[in-house]
Amino acid sequence: MRGLVKPAWIAWFRETDAMVGAIALAIFILIALLAPTLAPYDPHEFSGRPLERPSPSHWLGTNDAGQDILSELIYGARISIAVGTGAAVGTVVLGILVGGVAGYAGGAVDVLLMRTVDVMMTLPRLPLLILLAAFLGSGLLQTMAIISLLFWPATARVIRAQVQSLRGREYVKMAYNFGAGAGYVLLRHILPQIGPLIAFGWITAAGRAVAMEAGLAFLGLGDPTAKSWGLMMRFALNLPGLFLTDRWLWWLLPPGLCITLLILALTFFGMGLERRLHPRLAR
């Protein structure tokens, strides 16, 4: 029952997922930072014959152009993490701006902005993403911009609710009465309170952005020159008869596994953070 004291191991397990997520995330970031040192070759260099099997000189073999797959994989971490970070920053900044203004201003501005948010939240995201990517062109910056443009409403909604509730608190009203300006109140009293929400929104957005970037590349809408995990999977799947040999084992599986692990790392880390924010959820 809910009232009973829970055994300690459950509490420990609860925190373990956040720990595992944080450690995995740190490993991915390290790989991305150290890519030039870790990777045996330049991922664009034709370092072997096409479609070589794994060997001591190419641990994961080579792709159809004769490029080292392991090096592609290591450099791919940079793209996923860069797009994830960038798109998440864009999402959160837009979310804070819209949510902050709506919650702070109230009235007609609030109604107008929140109606926009409602409409944007009901739009089907992936088809819109595809439409935008098809028309905007396919660079990493475009990918980040498109993801930010589509995912900010959820953050805006949360931020608005929090700002609105903070605005009505006694100590905030008090600050006004002592003659504090809007900028001072926002920076001094409201921002610190929404900090954890921003962190959580950022992690969630980063997870989605990583998945979407890989998905777009997989569909052929990503940057065709960037060595991303999604693009690696696309090229592997384009090889006729990929599944007739065991080539998928070192070409298709590793990038898929990397994307999944990175997303799960972000998810579990975010879940730990969420529990800190809303202890009630940890039932």
Binding site: P127, L131, G215, L219, F243, L253
Partner: protein, 325 residues
């Protein structure tokens, strides 16, 4: 409900307008390159070119173009495919049934499994079974569907060779009757549908579990228990039943997610549905098809949302009361 319908119409209008503005607003207007004889993407088929020009009416004022576009959208005239020289509406009609079959199967399976699993996990909350199921569904719900599909494809298609690798049915197959045709389509459906089911199952399971956990703490559950009802009755007719209301709204929201998943899954499995259509269109920069599919999917998702709102009002008298105020 009236305000909901108004919001729905507003959103539909936003979708239609976005679909109209985007190609005109963005740099590198794709149509000009299709109509420019110097360009590498020049459309050589004179008939298609004429149809394109006429459809987009690029020489007319913007407002005229917009009104003509709205009229076309309402009457179901979505333009012509540049790649296949067929009407976009006709293309969508031939691909939509496959997607509906796939998403319908997966949504139903995921709903049933999510409800049963969620109620069971909530009933045993805090035990290792609960932890295991919860963690598994977080993983299943967050792993990209294309990766899950890939694993299933490798295991059941490539290694065990139990199921076909790709397609909606065997090419050039000769069927003895409708039964053998259905069996063939069924065999092709298993892996894509299973992949989508797994992708949708995670969130459904978590939602039902958390709802049931909440309901188990309600007073009426204590009363039911005090009456001496059997645990089975408590679990299924009292706890799960009351947890189903929020599930309905969620189901509609998930129609959109199912469509999203379907795009990746159909690409991976070469399944002949809407996802496959949009994938081909993207590859060939076949803009009328991309726009048409976007419009279609948006309308399906929005209608599902509206239907869920309506159903929720019917199912929960408390909400209807609130809406009347």
């Amino acid at each position: 409900m009236k305000s909901r319908v108004a919001a729905y119409l507003l959103t539909v209008w936003a979708v239609l307008t976005l679909n109209f503005i985007l190609p005109r607003l963005l740099p590198g207007d794709p149509l000009s390159s299709l109509l420019d004889p110097e360009s590498s993407e020049y459309v050589f088929d004179g008939e298609v070119r004429a149809a394109l020009e006429a459809y987009y009416g690029l020489d007319r004022p913007l407002l005229d173009q917009y009104l003509a576009y709205l009229k076309g959208a309402v009457t179901g005239d979505l333009g012509r495919s540049i790649l296949l020289n067929r009407g976009v509406g006709e293309l969508i009609l031939s691909h939509l049934p496959w997607t509906l079959l796939l998403t319908g199967t997966a949504l139903s399976l995921a709903s049933v499994l999510g409800m049963l699993g969620g109620a069971e996990a909530a009933w045993r909350r805090g035990t290792s079974t609960d932890r295991l199921l919860t963690t598994a569904s977080v993983i299943a719900g967050n792993a990209p569907v294309y990766f899950v599909g890939m694993i299933l494809l490798i295991i059941f298609g490539a290694e065990l060779k139990l199921l076909p690798l790709a397609g909606g049915r065997t090419p050039f197959a000769h069927y003895d009757g409708p039964l053998s045709a259905a069996a063939d389509m069924g065999r092709h459906l298993v892996l894509p549908a299973l992949t989508l089911t797994l992708g949708l199952l995670g969130t459904k399971f978590l939602l039902v579990r958390n709802n049931v956990v909440g309901i188990l703490g309600e007073d009426f559950m204590l009363v039911a228990r005090a009456k001496g009802l059997k645990p089975r009755r408590l679990k299924w007719s009292h706890a799960l039943r009351n947890a189903l209301l929020p599930f309905v709204a969620h189901l509609a929201a998930h129609a959109g997610l199912a469509m999203t998943g379907a795009v990746f899954i159909e690409t991976l499995f070469d399944y002949p549905g809407m996802g496959r259509l949009i994938f081909q269109a993207v590859g060939a920069r076949d803009y009328p098809v991309i726009q048409g599919v976007f419009l279609m999917v948006a309308l399906v998702v929005l209608s599902a949302n509206l239907a869920a709102d309506w159903l929720n009002l019917r199912l929960d008298p408390r909400l209807a009361e609130e809406a009347r105020k």
